[in-house]
Symmetry: C2
Subunit: 197 residues, 2 copies
C-alpha cells in the first residue's frame, strides 16, 4: 500500500514536468529545423513552407498601396497561393492592376523567441510580382486548391451568400529577404525555386 502510494505520488510529482515537455514538443513541431540563415534560398523556401498567413498588397482604385491579411499555402512549391473572396477588395484591385506584393514574418512561426518582429534576426520576406487568378480546372489551379484546403481546412466552411472564392497565385518577380542583418540579402527568383525547402 505504501509502495503504491509512493508510486502515485512520484507520478504526480512528474506530471507538471511531463506536461511542460509535451507543450515544448508541440511548439517545436510547429516550426521544425530552422535552416541556417546564411543559406538564403533554403531559408526562404522553409519560411514560406512553414508560414500560414501574411499580408497581400495590391493597388487600390486611387493607385495607393492596400494591404490585406490573407491565409496562403505554397503546397511545397515555393509559389504563394491564395483563396480570395469577391467580398474582399483585393481580387478586384488585382483584376484592374495585377502588381502585388506578399509579406510574411517569421514571428508567426514562434521561432523568433525573444526577438522583436522588427529585429533583423527575426526573418521577414516580401515577394513582389503579379497576382493572377488560376483557372479552376487547370493543373496548377487544382494543385493550389488542394494545398490551400489542406493547410486551411476552415476554407471549406466559409459561408458565402453574395460572393464566390477563386484561387490566385503570386507570379514572383523579385524577393526581399532579411534574416540575419540589414540590409536585405540578394536572392534571385531562380535561386529560390532551385532550393529545396
Amino acid at each position: 500500500m505504501e509502495t503504491i502510494k509512493a508510486t502515485i505520488l512520484h507520478n504526480f510529482l512528474l506530471a507538471p514536468i511531463i506536461f511542460a515537455l509535451i507543450i515544448s514538443q508541440v511548439s517545436s513541431l510547429s516550426s521544425p529545423a530552422r535552416p541556417p540563415p546564411e543559406n538564403a534560398p533554403v531559408f526562404a523556401r522553409w519560411l514560406v513552407k512553414q508560414g500560414f498567413w501574411g499580408v497581400l498588397n495590391t493597388l487600390d482604385s486611387a493607385r495607393s498601396p492596400f494591404g490585406n491579411v490573407m491565409s496562403y499555402s505554397d503546397g511545397g512549391t515555393g509559389t504563394p497561393y491564395f483563396y480570395l473572396s469577391t467580398l474582399d477588395p483585393t481580387p478586384h484591385y488585382a483584376n484592374v492592376n495585377p502588381r502585388s506584393s506578399f509579406t510574411l514574418s517569421e514571428f508567426e512561426l514562434n521561432s523568433c523567441r525573444g526577438k522583436d518582429p522588427q529585429s533583423p534576426l527575426c526573418a521577414k520576406i516580401t515577394f513582389s510580382g503579379r497576382l493572377k487568378m488560376l483557372a479552376p480546372n487547370s493543373r496548377e489551379g487544382i494543385l493550389a486548391q488542394g494545398a490551400l484546403l489542406k493547410k486551411h481546412p476552415q476554407f471549406t466552411g466559409f459561408p458565402l451568400q453574395n460572393g464566390t472564392f477563386s484561387v490566385f497565385k503570386l507570379d514572383i518577380r523579385s524577393i526581399f529577404l532579411v534574416n540575419l542583418a540589414a540590409p536585405p540579402r540578394l536572392l534571385t527568383v531562380q535561386e529560390y525555386y532551385l532550393a529545396k525547402p
Copy 2:
C-alpha cells in the same frame, strides 16, 4: 503521517490543473477584454493598442506596392508610430511618395482561438494614409519615440553602422476593418479617434 501523505498527494493531483489555469491566465493577460465586435470604433482602437507588429506598405520605385514587416506602437493615441531605419527601403519610398497603408491581424494577439487568420471572425484592419517623418524634437515626435521604446525595448539595442533611425507616423485617411463578417465595416477616421480603447 497518512494525512500528510494524503495532503501531498491531493496537492499533486491538483498541480496540472493549477498549471493549466496559470497558463490560461497568462494567455488572457496578453489580450485583455476583447470588446464586442459590433462596436467597430472601440474594437479598432483596442486592436491597435494591443497589437505589436504589422505590415507597412509603400510604393516602390516602379510604383508597385511594397509591404514590409514593422513593429509599431500607438502609445494609446490610435495613430500608428514607427521607428524606421535608413537601411530599409520603406522610409526612402515614403520620402518619394508618402501614400502608404498599414495592416495588422488579430491573429497575433492569440485571441482568434481556433479561427483561421482569413476568417472574418478573426479581425483584420488596414489603415490607408500618408507616411510622414516626425521632427525628433516635436511634441508628437517625443511622444511617439517614448511609446515605441516602451513597447519595443529592443529598439534601443539595434546596431546601426551605416544608417540612422527616424520616427514616422501614419496620417490616417481611411480605415478598412473586418471583425465579424465580410464585407468590411464602415468606420470613419473621426469615429475611430473619438472612441476610447
